[in-house]
C-alpha cells in the first residue's frame, strides 16, 4: 500500500493541533533525556517517533500523558496544559489513550471488564452501553470470542489488541503507542500492527514509538527522528527513508540493514 492512500488527513486538516509540545526538557538527575523538544500533532495525523534506544522517544510519550514530570517547556492538549501531579490531569488523561510495551491488562478482570472498567468508573457511562461498545471494538480487532477470557488465557498479540480496545473505548483524541510490539513474538507483531494500520486509515490521531521500520513507513504521515533528546530530523516517510537529510539519521537507518 502506498503512503498517499494512507495520509489524506494530514494534508486536508493541517491547522487543528491536538497536541502542542513546546521546548520540553526532561532530566533524570543531571542527565537530559529530552533537551528542548518542539512538536505539534494535528488532528488525524499519525506521527511515528523513531531513534536509537535511549534517545528519549518513550520518555516523550510518558511526559505527554503526565506520567513523568518535566523540568522545562509546556505540553498542551487542545490548549489545556498537561502537568504532572495536577488534579486536572485526570480529565486530560481520558482524552489520551496510551498502550504500553508490556502487557498491562488487569489480570484479575476478564477481557470485557478490562475494557469497560474506565468508561463505567471514570466516564460514569451506562454499563450495558459500555459493554455493547466493548463488544464492537473486540469484534473490530477480531477478538469477540475472547470477551469472557482472562488476560492469562490470551497470547501476547491478543493482549495488545485488547489493550488497544481498552484505550479506544474512552474515545481519546490521540492514541500514544509505546513500542507495543517490542515484547511480542514475531508472528504476533503483524496482527497488532494491522489493527494500528486500520486505526490510522480511519483517521485516529496517533503518536507511535516503534522499531518496526517497514511499519513506520506504512503507517506514518510524518516521521520524527530523535537522537540524544533532540529532534534531529522530521519528514514524510518517503523522504525520510529514501533521502535522510542528516548523517545521524542515515547512520541509524543503516543499522537496520545487514551488509557484509
Amino acid at each position: 500500500m502506498t503512503e498517499t492512500e494512507l495520509k489524506p488527513s494530514a494534508a486536508e486538516i493541517p491547522s487543528e493541533h491536538i497536541i502542542d509540545i513546546n521546548g520540553v526538557v526532561k532530566r533524570f538527575g543531571d542527565n537530559a533525556i529530552l533537551d528542548g523538544i518542539d512538536l505539534s500533532v494535528s488532528k488525524g495525523e499519525v506521527v511515528v517517533l523513531i531513534g536509537p534506544s535511549g534517545c528519549g522517544k518513550s520518555t516523550l510519550l510518558r511526559c505527554l500523558n503526565g506520567l513523568e514530570p518535566i523540568q522545562g517547556g509546556t505540553i498542551t492538549l487542545h490548549g489545556e496544559p498537561v502537568i504532572h501531579g495536577e488534579k486536572s490531569l485526570y480529565k486530560i488523561r481520558q482524552k489520551i489513550g496510551m498502550v504500553f510495551q508490556s502487557y498491562d491488562l488487569f489480570p484479575h478482570l476478564t477481557v470485557l471488564k478490562n475494557i469497560t472498567l474506565s468508561p463505567i468508573k471514570v466516564q460514569k457511562r451506562d454499563k450495558a452501553e459500555a459493554e455493547r461498545q466493548a463488544m464492537e471494538l473486540l469484534a473490530r480487532v477480531g477478538l469477540a470470542d475472547k470477551a469472557k477470557s482472562y488476560p492469562s488465557e490470551l497470547s501476547g498479540g491478543q493482549k495488545q489488541r485488547v489493550a488497544i480496545c481498552r484505550s479506544l473505548i474512552m474515545d481519546p483524541e490521540i492514541m500514544l503507542l509505546d513500542e507495543i510490539t517490542a515484547a511480542l513474538d514475531p508472528e504476533m507483531v503483524h496482527e497488532v500492527l494491522n489493527v494500528v494500520l486500520d486505526l490510522a486509515k480511519s483517521g485516529t490521531t496517533m503518536m507511535i514509538v516503534t522499531h518496526e521500520m517497514a511499519f513506520a513507513q506504512a503507517v506514518a504521515d510524518r516521521i520524527v527522528f530523535l537522537d540524544g533528546g533532540s529532534i534531529i530530523e522530521q519528514d514524510t516517510p518517503d523522504e525520510f527513508f529514501r533521502h535522510p537529510k542528516t548523517e545521524r539519521a542515515e547512520r541509524f537507518l543503516k543499522t537496520f540493514t545487514y551488509t557484509k
Binding site: Y90, G97, M98, F106, H108, Y150
Partner: protein
C-alpha cells in the same frame, strides 16, 4: 471424663482468644506497617527492617519472658499472662504481616499503576479497582498461613502461666497418672483434633483462594 473434656474446651477457648485477638491486632497494625514499609524514605525503610529482623531472630519464647518478666522489672507495669501473650503475638504478627503486605504491593508491576492512571482513573479508583483486588488475592493465602502459625505457637504461653489447651491437657494427664498411665496419648490426640479443627478450615479457605486465583490466571 466429661469434665475433662470441658476443661480441655475451656483451655482451647484461651488458645483461640489469644490467637484471635493477636491476629486481629496484627492484621490492622501489620497492614499499616506494610504501607509504611513501602515508603521510599531510607531511614523509615531501615527502621522497619531492623524491627522485622529483631522480631524474627528472637524466639517467641524469649519475647514472652521479656514482656512478662522483663517489662515488669524495668517499668513496674504488671501485665497478666494473657495480656503479655497478646502483646508478644501482636509484635510478631504485625512484623510478619507488614512484610507480607510490603512484598505483595512491591510485586505488583509498575505498569499496572501506570495503565490505570493513563485510563483516567483517579488514585483512589486505581487502588480500589485495580491494586487492592490483586494484592488481596496474593496476600490472603499467606495471611492464613501466618494465622495458623500464630495459633500453633500460642502453645508457648503456658510457660508464663497461662493455662491454654496444651497446659490443661498436661494437668489432666498428671492428675490421672496413676489411674490411667496411658491417658497421655488420648489427651494429646484430643488436643491434636482440636488444633486440627481450628486450623484445617483455614487451610481449606487458603487452598480454595489459590485455586480460584490459578483458574483466573489460567495456570
Amino acid at each position: 471424663m466429661g469434665n475433662n473434656f470441658l476443661r480441655l474446651l475451656s483451655g482451647l477457648w484461651v488458645t483461640v482468644r489469644i490467637s484471635l485477638i493477636s491476629i486481629a491486632f496484627s492484621l490492622v497494625l501489620g497492614t499499616l506497617l506494610g504501607a509504611v514499609m513501602t515508603s521510599r524514605n531510607r531511614v523509615v525503610k531501615v527502621l522497619c527492617r531492623v524491627y522485622l529482623e529483631i522480631v524474627r531472630i528472637m524466639p517467641q519464647l524469649v519475647w514472652l519472658f521479656i514482656v512478662f518478666f522483663g517489662v515488669t522489672r524495668l517499668t513496674g507495669a504488671n501485665f497478666g499472662g494473657e495480656t503479655s501473650a497478646v502483646i508478644v503475638f501482636t509484635i510478631w504478627g504485625a512484623a510478619e504481616m507488614g512484610d507480607l503486605v510490603r512484598g505483595t504491593f512491591e510485586a505488583i508491576p509498575r505498569h499496572q499503576f501506570e495503565s490505570s492512571l493513563s485510563l483516567g482513573l483517579t488514585k483512589p479508583q486505581m487502588y480500589i479497582s485495580i491494586i487492592f483486588p490483586q494484592a488481596l488475592r496474593n496476600l490472603l493465602p499467606n495471611v492464613i498461613n501466618l494465622a495458623t502459625r500464630m495459633i500453633k505457637t500460642t502453645a508457648l504461653v503456658s510457660i508464663i502461666g497461662v493455662t491454654e489447651v496444651l497446659k490443661v491437657g498436661k494437668q489432666i494427664i498428671d492428675a490421672n497418672r496413676f489411674e490411667f498411665p496411658n491417658a497421655a496419648i488420648w489427651v494429646y490426640a484430643a488436643i491434636f483434633f482440636m488444633y486440627f479443627l481450628i486450623c484445617f478450615p483455614l487451610s481449606m479457605i487458603s487452598r480454595a483462594i489459590v485455586k480460584k486465583q490459578q483458574r483466573s490466571e489460567g495456570e
